[in-house]
Amino acid sequence: MTSDSTTTPLDILATAEDWKASGRNVALATVVETWGSAPRPVGSHLVIDDQGNFEGSVSGGCVEGAVVSEAIDVIDSGKPTVLEFGVADETAWQVGLSCGGRIRVYVEPVGPSAA
């Protein structure tokens, strides 16, 4: 069962369930559209808690910081949002991802926001 994505530590949807079940406030970010040579495919997930802990990735590391801070707002407000990033900006170039891609990321709270 080495390749069963539901049993690996990097299974983000399972991690989201575990974190929520253990009482943490959680948001889930999903890459919903990409243009150009985006580093992570559509459907990639990042799970974030309200302390800024996260697992997974929506890019090669260049926009996760921004997604995490937006996700904390989403946990507070309980309202989903859509973020858009050009991956070829200055920050991306500095971390070695001058790939020229753009991505849209959907960020949603997990569970009733009051929970």
Binding site: M1, T2, S3, D4, S5, T6, T7, L13, A14, A16, E17, K20, L28, T30, V32, E33, P41, V42, G43, K79, P80, V82, Y106, E108, P109, V110, G111, P112, A115
Partner: protein, 232 residues
């Protein structure tokens, strides 16, 4: 995402069942579509069926001008090898590295030993018994390599009747010719029989058991990525 929806989705995934989460990214409204569900009345029916085949997530435009995101979850590909033979000893680790869940089935206890197949992939049972508990699904490949019709035929016939994405059988053209006659007599159509990859594997002149394993895995990946529409 509602927590109950997340747990329902994860349950489907852990049971090797495909499911699509439909998210209206304008309103945040979501619903979960199981592969087993009848979607014929759903406005997204054709799109959903296509996504279950391709395994690819993506945006879809709806008739009312809004757009939804489809998070498509299909199981990791599985390879069922009939025959705990020398080729299988090479094919198991190769297929596992390539990301497959691998099961080896062989009722012959001289072949089916833990020493030859460490790691829990082995079932020393008749294939027909194993198939009762773990039926073949569209995300499964079957490779029959025992050379023995008593062992190979039933799982091959079951595989050809199922939706599994690859069916391969070891044996020369002559051996395969006899197999075709038996399968016709068993009531299979030419189209069903034509799905069999035989002689098995991509023609790379493979000579040793390990090389044959490479050839078999190559054709399984071809079927998965090219013919089945690019399962993730």
């Amino acid at each position: 995402m509602d927590f109950s929806l997340l747990t329902a989705l994860n349950k489907e995934r852990s049971e090797r069942r495909a499911a699509v989460l439909v998210t209206d990214i304008g309103t945040g409204a979501q619903r979960l579509i199981l592969r087993s569900a009848d979607t014929s009345a759903d406005p997204l029916h054709e799109e959903l069926q296509r996504r279950f085949r391709s395994g690819k997530s993506g945006m879809v435009e709806l008739d009312d001008g809004t757009s939804a995101f489809l998070t498509v979850n299909v199981p990791p590909p599985r390879l069922v090898i009939i025959g705990a033979v020398h080729i299988s000893q090479a094919l198991v680790p190769m297929a596992e590295i390539a990301g497959f869940d691998v099961t080896v089935v062989d009722p012959r206890t001289a072949f089916a030993t833990e020493e030859r197949f460490p790691g829990g992939t082995l079932k020393a049972e008749w294939p027909e018994d194993v198939l009762k508990s773990t039926p073949l699904d569209p995300y499964t490949a079957v490779a029959a390599v025992t050379h023995d019709p008593k062992i190979d035929d039933i799982p091959l016939i079951e595989a050809l009747k199922s939706e599994c994405f690859y069916v391969g059988a070891l044996g020369s053209w002559k051996t395969h010719g006899k197999r075709v006659e038996r399968f016709k007599a068993a009531g299979l159509s030419d189209a069903q029989i034509g799905r069999i990859d035989a002689p098995i594997g991509l023609d790379i002149g493979a000579a040793s058991p390990a090389e044959i394993a490479v050839a078999v895995l190559a054709n399984i990946i071809f079927a998965l990525r090219k013919e089945a529409g690019g399962l993730q």
